[in-house]
């Protein structure tokens, strides 16, 4: 007997007879009922405000721009403020690639010691101050992990209230290979429980909120 058969026969021996999958699905759905009773309330009056409260509490910095075409200037401002050269690894999203980057040099390859990477978030989650990225032809996952500074462009229109709202957005779609909810800069508490910001991933996460 294969290991698979042994495990299934052991599991089936201990559980009652096979049940109707529709009934199981009904029970599973019922376990998601009344979500507000089992999740935290939003921290602010609007989604963007709630997002900002949660994200900044974790050390994420936030800038707001009226429209996408103001993003390059905001990136230049952030880099200058951090004392960085105006050079970034840029993900392949056409929304970003199509912008006039002016004095900011952009490139696709991500160096192991890349200073800053700029990417487009699929969603923001107001409940937790998280941004969501999906892997794909235009989105290298390493862009969010190798650079010391991760600059994320997030459209206010893509802001979701709760984690379940993100799960709902995935329904009926082919989920990506990697979906990552990023909640603040990389960090660790592995030495004596004391929090150190910037472990293996970015030490800085900067969100540019696009209002349009």
């Amino acid at each position: 007997m294969s290991a698979r058969e042994r495990i299934f026969s052991a599991v089936r021996a201990e559980l009652s007879a096979a049940r109707d999958p529709a009934q199981i699905a009904g029970e599973a759905a019922a376990l998601l009922a009344e979500p507000d009773a089992v999740r935290p309330r939003l921290a602010g009056a609007t989604l963007a405000e709630s997002f900002a409260i949660k994200a900044t509490a974790l050390g994420t910095t936030i800038d707001r721009v009226p429209a996408l075409d103001a993003v390059p200037e905001a990136v230049a401002r952030y880099l200058a403020g951090q004392g960085l050269r105006p050079s970034v690894a840029l993900d392949g999203a056409p929304e970003l690639r199509g912008l006039d980057w002016g004095a900011v040099e952009t490139h696709s390859a991500i160096a192991p010691d890349e200073a800053a990477g700029v990417g487009l978030a699929r969603f923001g989650v107001a409940e937790s101050g998280s941004i969501v990225i999906h892997s794909g032809p235009e989105t290298p996952i390493l862009l969010a992990f190798l650079p010391l500074h991760h600059v994320v462009v997030l459209r206010v229109a893509d802001m979701l209230a709760h984690l379940e709202d993100y799960a709902a957005r995935l329904e009926g779609t082919e989920p990506p290979r990697n979906a990552i909810l990023i909640t603040g800069p990389s960090g660790t508490t592995d030495i004596e429980g004391s929090y150190v910001r910037g472990a293996h991933g970015p030490g800085f996460v900067h969100v540019i909120l696009v209002e349009e």
Partner: protein
């Protein structure tokens, strides 16, 4: 399962290990520093989430639902994971799991493997198996990196290096890092580890991770981490291997989120880990990066047996570590003294499942039954009840020392005979009184465990029942 390669489980017995731990004052300092922080932060996070009790109840119900329909969810997950391009493997025990992972590494021609912390990997003895196979293993979680440098096993399921103070970590890094860290504050040491491990991430042939959740309806595995090491482990190498216990299933992504809210608050006192990552199959055509192969090894190792016995509730465990952070015994002796993969209250329930009760009989008894672990458990596992169930088995299987059995049996026999009991307790109290003077008894035969460390109040000479009857007559 009994052949799990835990060096500590073989050697000295529990009391000896506990004694060594109690004598190590540095260990106590290290444990206190982290557990005090963890306890304070958890309390604050729970306090800031008024829905916590309702969320806990929901979390318990979700896990119970999955456990009751485990066969269905295993099949669903396998089907969806396979459809995503991942290859699903099944391991009935730890030896099978080790063999599968080593074979996959060999097939990938792996010389170097990066690993993102997984307690299941520890449970199945993966670190030693990779070493025996001659494959370089690079632990990438900071705490796992620390204990790899020290040649140790984890002492906690969330903070594997909890037993080490910052000063001890600094010593390890000075020896193991080239160049050594610039200073011994945690920040400098973390930066040093980042430098040392960065090149290892990009040069590995295989990345191995665990899973916090297996999402049945998408076939995705989910990891939650704070450092970013999991993504750097699973993205650059050509092959990604996941090892996960079969109890990690949840019906959907939304169910995983419901449990995630409980897990993070209970573990670290945060609300979300920095990275919550869903891995679904290998690199797709056109993807900018990602592994070319994804393998998921589903491990039973005693879990299916727990479905049918009194330890079934333990399958709800989401491995947050709150029970050990709040355990007075863990906080005295730390994780290594437990001698298994999992320490603390949850470990005292699981280790007898994994290593056998005869080898780990002390663990369910080394508990004061104070109930704090159950009070903080995010999925309401009745840990004291489960520990008592092991005590019952130990009694029924005659594993208790003969003198203990005889003594307790005699006492119970007398206690069922009230008049004899009255007589015996009256005599006992008088005898005890004779052993002391003033208000205290300093040493008592058969109670050396008590009087070695504390005095015993001297009884007044007559039992309550004697005085009460006397007063009424």
């Amino acid at each position: 399962m009994s052949d799990a390669p835990h060096a500590e489980a073989e050697a000295p017995d529990f009391k000896t290990r506990a004694g060594i731990a109690l004598a190590d004052r540095t260990l106590k300092i290290a444990i206190d520093r982290t557990t005090n922080t963890a306890e304070t932060k958890r309390a604050a996070a729970v306090g800031a989430f008024p829905e916590f009790e309702a969320a806990r109840e929901r979390g318990r119900a979700i896990k119970d639902h999955v456990i009751a329909n485990l066969g269905h969810y295993l099949e669903t997950f396998e089907r969806n994971a396979t459809a995503s391009g991942a290859k699903v493997h099944w391991a009935a025990d730890d030896a099978e799991a080790r063999a599968i992972v080593v074979r996959l590494c060999r097939e990938a021609g792996a010389r170097s493997v990066t690993r993102s912390k997984s307690m299941l990997g520890e449970e199945i003895g993966l670190p030693d198996a990779l070493a025996e196979a001659g494959i370089e293993r690079v632990e990438t979680d900071l705490a796992e990196h620390i204990i790899q440098l020290a040649g140790e096993h984890p002492s906690h399921i969330i903070w594997p290096a909890m037993h080490r103070t910052r000063e001890q970590v600094a010593d390890l890094f000075r020896e193991g890092h080239v160049p050594p860290p610039s200073a011994e504050d945690p920040g400098s040491m973390v930066r040093s580890a980042r430098r040392v491990l960065r090149e290892k991430f990009l040069g590995a042939d295989v990345g191995i991770s665990g899973a916090n959740f297996l999402i049945a309806d998408t076939g995705a595995t989910c990891t939650v981490t704070n450092e970013g090491n999991a993504e750097l482990t699973t993205t650059p190498p050509r092959v990604h291997i996941v090892t996960a216990g079969i109890e990690k299933l949840v019906p959907s992504t939304a169910h995983a989120f419901a449990l995630l809210r409980l897990l993070v608050r209970s573990a670290t006192g945060g609300e979300m880990t920095q990275y919550t990552t869903f891995h679904r199959g290998p690199k797709r055509p056109g993807d900018a990066d990602g592994p070319e192969e994804m393998h998921i090894v589903l491990v039973d190792n005693g879990r299916s047996r727990m479905l049918g016995d009194e330890f079934r509730d333990m399958l709800r465990c989401i491995r947050c570590g709150a029970c050990m952070n709040h355990c007075v015994v863990y906080r005295q002796i730390g994780g290594h003294a437990y001698g298994g993969t999992y320490p603390g209250p949850m470990g005292a329930v699981l280790t007898p499942v994994l290593d056998g009760l005869a080898k780990s009989r002390d663990l369910p008894f080394a508990c004061t039954m104070n109930g704090r672990c159950a009070e903080v458990c995010p999925v309401r596992i009745p840990l004291p009840t489960l520990l008592r169930a092991w005590r019952g088995r130990s009694w029924r299987e005659n594993l208790e020392p003969r003198a203990m059995r005889a003594g307790l049996g005699l006492w119970a026999w007398v206690a069922r005979r009230p008049r004899l009991y009255r007589l015996a307790s009256g005599l006992g109290v008088r005898a005890l009184r004779l052993m002391g003077k003033g208000g205290w008894v300093g040493s008592v035969p058969l109670a050396g465990g008590w009087t070695a460390y504390r005095d015993l109040p001297r009884p007044s000479g007559k039992t309550f029942m004697e005085q009460y009857r006397g007063g009424r007559k």
